[in-house]
Symmetry: C2
Subunit: 515 residues, 2 copies
Amino acid sequence: MTRSWWGWGNVENAVTGDERAALTKRIGTLMPSADLTVHEPPEVSDLDLPDPRVTPPQALADLCSADRTDRAAHAHGKAFRDVVRNLLGEVRNPPDLVVHPRTEADVVDVLDWATKANIAVIPFGGGSSVVGGIEPRFDGPAVSLDLGKLDQVLEIDRTSRAARIQAGVLGPALEDQLREHDLTLRHFPQSFEFSSLGGWLATRAGGHFATLYTHIDDLVESMRVVTPSGISESRRLPGSGAGPSPDRMFLGSEGTLGVITQAWMRLQDRPKWRANASVHFDDYAAAVNCTRAIAQSGLYPTNCRLLDPVEAFINAGTSSAGGVLVLAFESADHPVDAWLARALELCRDHSGAVQEQTKASENWRSSFLRMPYQRDALATQSMIAETFETACTWNRFDELKAAVTAAANDAMRTVGVTGVVTCRFTHVYPDGPAPYFGIYAAGRWGATLSQWDDIKVAVSEALANAGGTITHHHAVGRDHRPWYDRQRPDPFAAALRAAKSALDPAGILNPGVLL
Amino acid sequence: MTRSWWGWGNVENAVTGDERAALTKRIGTLMPSADLTVHEPPEVSDLDLPDPRVTPPQALADLCSADRTDRAAHAHGKAFRDVVRNLLGEVRNPPDLVVHPRTEADVVDVLDWATKANIAVIPFGGGSSVVGGIEPRFDGPAVSLDLGKLDQVLEIDRTSRAARIQAGVLGPALEDQLREHDLTLRHFPQSFEFSSLGGWLATRAGGHFATLYTHIDDLVESMRVVTPSGISESRRLPGSGAGPSPDRMFLGSEGTLGVITQAWMRLQDRPKWRANASVHFDDYAAAVNCTRAIAQSGLYPTNCRLLDPVEAFINAGTSSAGGVLVLAFESADHPVDAWLARALELCRDHSGAVQEQTKASENWRSSFLRMPYQRDALATQSMIAETFETACTWNRFDELKAAVTAAANDAMRTVGVTGVVTCRFTHVYPDGPAPYFGIYAAGRWGATLSQWDDIKVAVSEALANAGGTITHHHAVGRDHRPWYDRQRPDPFAAALRAAKSALDPAGILNPGVLL
């Protein structure tokens, strides 16, 4: 398999042939006036990449790559705006070098060198950032620190159901190593195949579980982080009340405070029992109330994904006036029928039509895995296809959804495109949902980047004004800074800045992110 | 009711008469050579309190009290060593003044004054610290900032099941205000009656739920904190991935970074269904394995408290060779019989004898509520009676328990006392338990403080060496500093110190705690 330098995943898995034709036909039906001509990506050899401005010291030379494809592939993340810039050949700020440490000691050495030479270091896991988190969007030299070779499960504690794991491991390689021990992390973000443990930790990734263990944060027992001021390693503990949590400072630090090299992670037994259903609603307000009742019931479903009617139609091929709730329970310990039965009772109380045959659920799942590839295909056909996400308390959700949808539609009108807005809940909490929006619009080749950027500003303003967070699990990166800066309390910003100065006095770590 | 200046709770609820006689008899049976003469506490008028060294500015004079009883009652927390010092009349460092702000603006004004005048400020909630957290254990002037007048539930969001609550409210007053709305926080630490929301947040208190929502941390939606550098208020969110969590920096900050004045808290519906049982074991190792299986089952019992044989005997009046597991499930949404049934199946698999008649459980509960009062009674009778707690991963528990018990017994021998060590789990996690130890020993009047201090050093060393945390939910305060300083990663300490300097440049907030 060959990793795509410009788009999602592996070249061999890209959308082609029948899948492309079906996609084109579906979009053509929805948006008959769309120009869906396919624009092929440039070759790396066609890119106008600036030459590296730095030379590594002899001792580190073996770890450093100035290869053009390597540098191009580390220049952007995998957001729609990244893919479009790649398609247009706009790779203006690639890292000067890509560094591939083989050991934690290598990481220490790289930070020492970079601190002395004043070179920015951008920690790189799987490269799947969708928020400009791994992009040298600044002047001055930068290296991309690719942790991909730190990919081993080092130790298993079967009794406590935990493992010590190197941070550079990608999802599938991690699960392969755990499977031998009948264990699993069960952290399955959409980026699972091409994102790393360290990346999940640094960005507070959201995973498989719709309730309870929603963020990777809750699955961390201890972390080991290389900072320019020394290595920070927390004690393995199931819980503690000894001062503010050290791990919680590094969780979400997005490569600005240190480089996560290892973590002890809490694992799960592999589930043996499953029960699921999909529930159709005639009325979206009833569907939301029902989802809230389930979120507040203490039943803790593994999946509890409310698709609004547009999302259900576009991504699950299901027609429904009020949306579809995809529900699932799983357990390694006991049958979960009693759990599902009570959840479905709640659904019926809220006028939901239960289908124990979960066709919508299966459709949605296969669609979920193909989405990033299809997004790339759409991007080559002048489509704007991107998602954004938030979380808010239940009392604010109706207003937030209405405001975001209106802002998106207004912005699409203003930039002259026709499109749709979809919404699903990726995670739900007793006090609120995490709504995840999609925008699919027919853009104009060469203009889709600026068209999307305008839409993104509009929806970000809308969700911030409606009391949502600028990100529930995609992270802040560089793209979310304006809204993050407003959301973050000023005294906390001052404290974080001070912490950063203490740990990274030269300010080399991922400049422009968070601070 | 009159609050005791020297001991736990209300004077009217202190142990007297029959309860004292029964207690004395029970101890006398266990430890026939103990001298259980009762030593009455001194009167406040007998205390040799130094005069206040500071005078408040006119604008704050109304809020400030130099009353001797007020100052004495704010001089120490409620640990055994605090009570003993009070009994001996050793109140050497009372706060110069006790300040009773009526509004958040008052808190701002007090911090402004203290910053300019270089006076230490010790935030005081219910005063129930058992780790020296509220004691001016330093030279130089200090005021105790008693938030007791900030005791209102300000706003309820029934839809999101959350409330905005002033930080000074004590447990019962809080629950009274929530009961009108059929809601509850369900945070019931042993100190419930005499501890405050702000105190719980500042110390990461452990509460009612044995699994899942073990610490108050998980019940916080947003916090408002007055720092000398401004007010920090986080956005109300059910979840977020926008950078490191601001709330997690203040949770556990123990009054060193700011004064928590309000929080939006996640609430629960009042439970309607309950199911419980107690399970007796012949073998403690089997009991531990069983508890681990339940902790890893995904059943999430509300109570899952394994009493070791000594704890079961002393505090639940139950004889058992391998300990007693007290199990309970509760729900506001559904009957929990299926949950309990599966848990009991696991118990039988581990050779537990199930008693659905939960006499042990009831005995233990009433004993739980009286324990602090009985501890005070024992302290007046030269007994050493104190607890300490930790958490560790399951793989380390056997060794940790053995090491702590041996260290306690050795230390008791060394200081020349006879006593017992008990252990229960207060909370359990999939990856480890939170063991809570008790020590009951017959000391020598006038020497019990130094005897206990020696024992405390020994057990703290043992649990730190065995990989436990120095505290799971009692906090760090001043008493746990040596072990906390070793447990905390150095780079994190540097970051925390820098954050403290940014928020509290004059270093007035609770000096000596954490940093």
